[in-house]
């Protein structure tokens, strides 16, 4: 896990404190009761704040797993 993924993981850990940290890199929305629409917006806001980026909420609708989120951030950070 590189530094960017570690920072994404930290945001996930902040938003989903009830999920064991080791499970977070494999987390996906379909299999997680905690990851509802409100928590999705909270996660996006936490990521936006952490990486100083504007998140496109329409595109972000597709970000349904840790891996997709990390890829999205990698593709947009610093733009």
């Amino acid at each position: 896990m590189d530094e960017l993924e570690a920072r994404v993981l930290e945001c996930f850990a902040n938003v989903f404190p009830g999920i064991p940290r080791e499970r977070l890199p494999r987390l996906n929305q379909a299999a997680s009761a905690e990851w509802d629409s409100v928590m999705h917006v909270t996660l996006l806001a936490a990521l936006g704040e952490e990486f100083g980026m504007e998140i496109d909420f329409e595109l972000a609708e597709e970000l349904r797993s840790f891996a997709l989120v990390a890829n999205y951030v990698r593709g947009h950070v610093g733009r």
Partner: protein, 585 residues
């Protein structure tokens, strides 16, 4: 201070730590989204070891949420109003044709909605204390004028809102957030997040949400107000050194370029009128000080200062003497002085005291200091009891002096004392709760009670409250003691018992215990040893109640009639009034 969301998410997870968790209901018409997190995070910062549970209602139903709050188990309700709660046409999530006709209709309907809201808030406040934040995000779609020009329509809506706020702010169980203070922390231009509002129904930027949460908590769970202020004189109460310039040479007026001192005097006068004790600690000759304080153009009467400690000894000694005369602890007191060195010396000798530097050359800093005094001493309302407190301090000093010179029994018998007992359960009487929450010495167990818990306690059928007032030839002391608890089957259980330190040494607690026993088979008290309740422990010792060594938990202690007999002989005062609102059987 504003928190970042990630920081708040971490803080919000901080475990409670054992103290009872507070329950708050957050009532708003929009999606509360990050607000519960920011509320829990700011709460964790201010009250480490104590958790906050935040319940919320449903989207788009502010009035319904007020009713949900009323039926919830919360002990405080935090209410946020935004313009679109008052009329959806004033928010960015609704669109429609705008016309002058429509504006009239909006204004008319707004007045009706505000009235319904006022009634719902009144109803809710009967159940629990309410904190209300007025709209903090502007509505900006009014199109008649340029953005620089306020239109009659906008001003009319604001006027309706202000009238509504002025009306609800008169309710003693409801506090309205000061919009100017919020604006100083959170500028209007940085408050809204329109994108988030359109996507998720949450109208605030993260930073503004943090500021709003922090402000709501300050109103809902304020720090206990300070009780006394000790002021320096030279270059603080007035400009100049009175020992060099003489009483006529010191100044405090605009014309003499000393206005900040005049402003300070005016604030001290207001504090005195609100019941704050004022004392003087000054390195000066007594006579010189007396002459200057006697000047008729001073903005406050010299008698408001008691004691006046003028000497050449260390300032901390003067502060010690004043604290003894007031019989209050250093952490309830603020010292204002222009000398940083003197303040440091005082702080070292009196840890816990609040020291503020008066900087007369810096007008901005002085105004900031005056604002700080408002925060430190402010309370929701000022009553007759507050005024009595400062008036009774001189009588207290005389009482102590004359008590030393006589036999205690004879002295008390000659006081002409009158004790009034009142069992009325009045939720509007803020004095009783105030006494419970600020009394440390004669305090049964040191447990504090929040306004919401108090309202619920009073509503219980088995609960009782006894307010005790006292007066003697030294003057009235007002309501100086409270006992509260429950009664069933001839057993009276006391959960709270406090007596103001101004009323010590008068055997008022002995009178009180006798009254508590009337009609009861047994009286039991929920005692807990605290660091500061030595006077209560002395009372237990007089009763012959053995204290369990090392016990830190609250434990019931039964008091027998035999023990009552040890303190109830030859009670010195006349019992004046007794409400008959309670069945002692």
């Amino acid at each position: 201070m504003s928190l970042k969301l990630n920081e708040a998410l971490k803080l919000a997870q901080t475990p409670g730590g054992g103290a009872p968790e507070r329950q708050a209901f957050l009532a708003c018409g929009f999606e509360p989204l990050h607000l519960p997190v920011f509320l829990r995070a700011h709460h964790a910062q201010r009250f480490p070891g104590r958790g906050l549970e935040v319940s919320t209602g449903v989207y788009g139903d502010l009035l319904g949420n007020l009713e949900r709050a009323r039926q919830s188990r919360a002990s405080t309700c935090l209410v946020l109003i935004e313009w679109h709660d008052l009329d959806p046409r004033l928010g960015v999530r609704s669109t429609g044709p705008w016309s002058r006709l429509r504006q009239q209709e909006i204004a008319q309907q707004l007045a009706q909605r505000l009235e319904r809201l006022r009634q719902a808030l009144e109803h809710l406040s009967q159940q629990m204390p309410v904190v209300l934040a007025p709209p903090s995000v502007e509505f900006g779609l009014e199109a008649d004028t340029t953005g620089w020009q306020a239109s009659p329509f906008e001003l009319e809506l604001e006027l309706l809102l202000l009238k509504f706020l002025a009306s609800v702010a008169g309710n003693p169980r409801l506090k309205v957030l000061h919009t100017a203070r919020l604006a100083a922390r959170s500028p209007a231009s940085a408050r809204a997040d329109a994108k988030m509002e359109l996507v998720a129904g949450f109208p605030y930027s993260l930073e503004h949400a943090s500021h709003v949460a922090e402000a709501l908590l300050w109103l809902a769970y304020p720090d206990a107000p300070k009780k006394g202020l000790i002021t320096d004189l030279d270059d603080t109460l007035w400009a100049g050194i009175v020992g060099e310039l003489g009483a006529e040479g010191v100044k405090w007026s605009l014309g003499e370029k000393a206005q900040v001192h005049g402003l300070y005097q005016s604030v001290l006068r207001q504090l005195h009128e609100a019941g704050v004790l004022l004392g003087v600690a000054s390195k000066n000759d007594k006579d010189v000080v007396a002459a200057a304080l006697a000047r008729s153009d001073l903005h406050l009467d010299r008698d408001v200062f008691f004691p006046v400690a003028a000497s050449w000894g260390p300032k901390s000694d003067a502060v010690s003497a004043i604290l003894r005369a007031w019989n209050i602890a250093a952490d309830s007191v603020v010292v204002v002085d222009d000398s940083r060195m003197e303040l440091e010396e005082i702080r070292r000798q009196h840890p816990g005291i609040t020291c503020l530097e008066f900087r007369p050359k810096d007008v901005g800093a002085t105004l900031e200091l005056l604002g700080q005094l408002r925060d430190l001493f402010g309370k929701p309302s000022v009553g007759e009891e507050d005024r009595l407190r400062s008036a009774s301090i001189r009588g207290l000093a005389l009482f102590e002096e004359q008590k030393q010179a006589s036999d205690l029994g004879d002295f008390l018998a000659g006081l002409g004392g009158e004790v009034s007992f009142d069992f009325a359960k009045n939720a509007e009487d803020a004095r009783l709760l105030e006494l419970i929450n600020k009394t440390n010495q004669f305090n049964l167990n040191g447990l504090r009670v929040e306004a919401g818990e108090w309202q619920r306690f009073l509503a219980r059928e088995d609960s009782f409250v006894l307010g005790v007032s006292y007066s003697d030839r030294y003057g009235p002391l007002g309501t100086i003691a409270v006992v509260a608890g429950s009664r069933a089957n001839g057993v009276l259980r006391v959960e709270q018992w406090v007596l103001s330190c101004r009323a010590f040494s008068r055997r008022i607690e002995d009178h009180t215990l006798q009254v508590l026993f009337e009609g009861q088979k047994q009286v039991s008290i929920a005692f807990r040893r605290t660091e500061r309740n030595q006077p209560f422990r002395e009372f237990l010792a007089r009763l012959g109640v053995a204290e369990e060594p090392g016990s830190a938990a609250t434990s019931p202690v039964a008091i027998s009639r035999e023990q009552l007999g040890r303190v109830s002989a030859d009670l010195p005062h006349r019992v004046l009034t007794r409400s008959d609102g309670v069945n002692h059987g």
